[in-house]
């Protein structure tokens, strides 16, 4: 099947109107010997029914969080999504629209982004938020880029306890640039303050940490922020927005730029995407921000109305002098977050955060009491923690799968020193029964 609307008769009428015999007559500018003449090596055309069957078959080869109790987190969280979210984001008026370049017929997108910006500011305590970036990793890179531009310094101190993939992305972007990245090691699960102090000079543009960090541990952000500012460096954090239902706002601990992965706000885990890059900062950096920003104004009838604003920062105006090259962002994911936060409200978000951290502490406590197992870091954590097994963890995770449980994430691949260690995550969706079943199987690992 295809989605071409013209009948053969329509096309004949068009050809007649154009005074040509065939569409091929329109292709004379193309190098004729390069035009595809043979059948493409693609599957044969299929009906919608066959497409659905094929995708069902593919989907059935995957283990989803709908059928498995998932104890994986590490930047992708299995939180409950209220029914309101897909009902709204599946409206064609939203998802089949383009970037709101024509504000008179894009007020739906524009106002929802304005509301999203407000919610992100309220969650983080920052002055301004943009309309979204690709994901948590690229948002972190953009923050670093802004910090270097703003401070005109070229050293970045990045905590090693930040998500390994976020650090990899930052490295990719900054390789062979004038910016030098130095990684600050962790000690007992937290960024090593002494190591940080030894590297923190007046050439440092920013100190970058994650809160909670990759291990789920709560960093001493108040202290980290103060140390950064003492040397005139900016303090950048990457946050897990659901945690802000209970944790201190980044503004309260002195963050200058707040980034984060917004997937936890109403988006499914989706094998890693599409996700939502959160970016918010203090007023001072507003004109250096990357991405779209929506502002309020009035129309010629005196009504409140919304438009894309501060566009002089952007690539379509500023070209090679733009603050970023971003064009398409994750607007529909921002809409998901907006509907999610509107539905949950502050109380609902607090419940999600509280239930998640309570479940994680219950699990950590139970694992800590299994002979041979140990909880690696004896420090405050949110809903993730690292535990080390006495025996083979690959065999353990395979055994869990047979019981419809997806176990923790083996960490050795990312941190060679963390052998036999697993990162466990608990969200509000994990029941006591699921946690108890997990623990009973962990007990068999020796």
């Amino acid at each position: 099947m295809d989605y071409i609307g013209n009948t053969e008769a329509d096309n004949k009428d068009i050809l007649r109107e154009l005074g040509i015999a065939s569409t091929e007559d329109l292709l004379k500018d193309l190098p004729q010997d390069r035009i595809i003449r043979q059948r493409l090596g693609l599957p044969p055309a299929a009906s919608e029914f066959e497409v659905k069957t094929q995708l069902r078959k593919i989907a059935s080869q995957n283990s989803s969080v709908a059928d498995f109790a998932c104890f994986l987190g590490a930047g992708a969280y299995d939180h409950y999504i209220p029914s309101t979210v897909p009902v709204i984001t599946k409206r064609g008026e939203f998802y089949t629209a383009y970037t709101p370049y024509q504000p008179e017929i894009s007020q739906g997108t524009l106002q929802s982004i304005f509301e999203y910006q407000t919610m992100i500011c309220n969650l983080t305590g920052m002055d301004v938020a943009n309309a979204s970036l690709y994901d948590g990793a690229t948002a972190l890179y953009e923050a670093i880029h802004l910090a270097c531009e703003h401070t005109q310094r070229n050293i970045i101190l990045v905590a090693k306890a930040i998500h390994p993939e976020y650090r990899q992305v930052v490295h990719t972007y900054l390789k062979n640039s004038r910016i030098i990245i130095k990684e600050i090691p962790f000690l007992a699960g937290l960024t090593d303050l002494a190591a940080l102090k030894s590297q923190l000079t007046d050439q440092v543009a920013a100190v970058v940490v994650q809160q909670p960090n990759f291990f789920g541990c709560l960093e001493p952000v108040q202290q980290l922020g103060a140390m950064s500012h003492e040397q005139g460096a900016l303090f950048i954090t990457s946050v897990y927005p659901v945690s802000l239902g209970v944790l201190q706002k980044p503004a309260e601990y002195g963050a200058d730029i707040v980034t984060g992965e917004g997937q936890s706000l109403g988006l499914p885990v989706s094998f890693g995407g599409p996700y939502l890059g959160i970016f918010a900062c203090r007023q001072e950096f507003m004109r250096k921000m990357p991405g779209r920003i929506v502002g309020e104004s009035i129309d010629n009838r005196g009504q409140r109305a919304y438009v894309l604003t501060l566009q002089a920062r952007e690539q379509h105006i500023r070209r090679e002098r733009a603050t970023s090259n971003i064009c398409s962002n994750e607007a529909l994911c921002a809409l998901s977050a907006c509907v999610y936060l509107s539905s949950m409200g502050a109380a609902g978000l607090r419940d999600v955060a509280t239930a998640s951290l309570s479940g994680a502490h219950y699990l950590a406590n139970a694992i800590g009491r299994i002979p041979g197992w140990k909880i690696n870091f004896k420090t405050a954590f949110f809903n993730e923690f690292v535990a080390t097994a006495p025996g083979n963890i690959e065999a353990l995770n395979r055994r869990l799968l047979r019981k419809n449980i997806i176990g923790g994430l083996p960490l050795e691949k990312y941190y060679p020193e963390l052998k036999k260690s697993l990162l466990f995550c608990v969200t509000e969706k994990r029941t006591k029964t699921e946690i108890d079943t997990l623990v009973s199987i962990l007990k068999e690992n020796r």
Partner: protein, 481 residues
């Protein structure tokens, strides 16, 4: 106009079991906890649904009507794509689930990369970039890695872009640390071969080229362009924003492109989402494949695996593997159209655009008048007392989305129109009639156009005021009025 969600007040609906409010204090030292409650809307489910439904009615999408936004390829977004993207076995898989749990997902990625290679002629492909511009930076970093690996002694510090290029091209080149130099277009609308020749030299890393270009014209000297670029030791980057014109018609690798991004949300029917999420797959010739981002999916026997280690890879450009659910939609599209359907796309898009151009030339000047590909650029008559902006706004009153305006920059008062292959002759005829009437209005009643749109939920918006007042979030009592 609809209220802001914060202006509603009703009893919140609860979606998860209530948690013990003391639990956070029990487990987490108080210095980490928030002092005051976060300010979020407090509204019932009914109000949430009514609010966002009301907002949706203020929007215009492809589902609402003709959306001839040039260079954006606003083709129809098939509904089966949305249905399958919601399957639990696709939307509900964790990116770190063990490989044995995600064989279907890996198969889909592997096969979609294969489909894209087949229609582009490239040897390598990555689905990791989340958008077109993200694909551009990925591609330019591949070019940088290639030059550094193969001839580290050379100082290739400049990237060339034509004066018709999308803004993302120069922005991307600058982001990757290159200087940007502009190449002129000739009077035919093609890249000026003499100017290109003058600019090519040992300092040039690449030329970034969109083909068809943003005038909707096929670069008819493309083989000569790629020959010159390669002779100078530079590479040819393809901006795939306009690839819909060539889909099923010609493979970019056969034209001499070395690396190119593909907008799955343009060419492969995935929705634009009000500005995203899209996806920006990148294809490369064989010589550049060692530099592709990690991980790559590989197949051994009947099983699929992630290959994380690749010595010369540029690394990762995004967390995890890219916008997977967008890839799912593009896969469904390939599967539906198949070899037969894909072969028709580019040709039908070209036929539709030429029809529309032919009809609209009766009313509007088309500065580069030769046969176009999937889109074309027209302007108002210079003696009309109205601007392109006025015409665009008046188009809204006739029930259509306006074209892309004031781009490309080399055409004064440009209107860039792209109908795509999915629009019917009937729709295009209705559009032509409306544009004919607007042309008449432009002469007889220019004031009407200056006041347009009259039928939209809001009228023209004071953008300068937005930039001055800078109200970027809702604060009680603060209002642009």
């Amino acid at each position: 106009m609809e209220k802001v969600i914060f202006e509603y007040h009703s009893q919140s609906t609860s979606y998860v079991p209530a948690a013990d409010p003391q639990a956070a204090k029990k487990h987490i030292p108080v210095e980490y906890l928030g002092v005051e409650e976060v300010i979020l809307p407090q509204v019932s489910e009914q109000d949430v649904i009514r609010h966002f439904t009301a907002l949706s009615k203020l929007n215009f999408g492809v589902d609402n009507g003709f959306y001839p936004l040039g260079s954006c390829t606003m083709k129809y977004n098939p509904k089966i794509n949305e249905t399958v993207a919601d399957f639990d076995g696709l939307a509900g898989i964790h990116p770190y689930a063990p490989e044995e749990c995600v064989q279907g997902a890996l198969q889909l990625v592997y096969e979609l990369e294969g489909f894209l290679k087949e229609v582009s002629g490239f040897a390598g492909m990555t689905l990791q970039p989340a958008a077109g511009a993200h694909g551009e930076i990925t591609g330019v970093l591949l070019i940088k890695a290639y030059h550094q690996q193969n001839h580290p002694e050379q100082k290739r510090t400049v990237i060339l872009v034509p004066d018709t290029a999308h803004g993302t091209n120069p922005a991307t080149a600058a982001l990757a640390g290159y200087q940007v130099r502009q190449v002129k277009s000739d009077d035919q609308g093609d890249i000026d071969l003499d100017d290109l020749q003058r600019n090519l030299g040992p300092d040039i890393a690449a030329l970034m080229l969109t083909n068809p270009n943003t005038l909707g014209l096929f670069e008819k000297n493309i083989l000569e362009v790629s020959r010159q670029v390669h002779k100078s030791g530079a590479l040819l980057y393809g901006d795939g924003a306009n690839f819909n014109a060539l889909l099923g018609l010609i493979k970019p690798a056969e034209l001499g492109f070395d690396v190119m991004h593909f907008n799955l949300h343009k060419t492969f029917s995935t929705p634009h989402g009000g500005g995203g999420p899209g996806a920006g797959a990148v294809g490369t010739i064989k010589e550049l494949t060692p530099f592709l981002p990690v991980p790559q999916v590989i197949k051994k026997g009947k099983k699929y695996f992630w290959k994380h280690q690749q010595a010369n890879s540029i690394g990762k450009v995004r967390s995890f593997y890219g916008n997977f659910l967008i890839a799912v939609r593009a896969y469904a599209y390939f599967f539906a159209l198949g070899a037969e359907g894909i072969a028709r796309v580019g040709r039908q898009a070209v036929l539709n655009a030429n029809y529309l151009k032919h009809k609209l030339e009766n009313y509007y000047p088309v500065p580069y008048g030769r046969t176009c590909m999937h889109e074309f650029v027209m302007t108002p008559h210079h003696d009309w007392a109205v601007s392109t902006l006025d015409i665009a706004k008046r188009i809204i009153d006739y029930g259509f989305h306006p074209p892309t305006i004031y781009f490309p920059l080399i055409v004064h008062e440009a209107m860039m129109i792209e109908p795509t292959e999915t629009e019917t002759k009937e729709t295009m005829d209705t559009f032509v009639n409306a544009l004919g009437q607007i042309a008449a209005e432009a002469v007889q009643n220019p004031e009407l156009l200056k006041k347009a749109p009259l039928t939209s939920p809001v009228g023209r918006i004071d953008e300068a005021r937005a930039g001055r007042q800078l109200i970027l979030k809702y604060e009680k009592g603060r209002d642009a009025r």
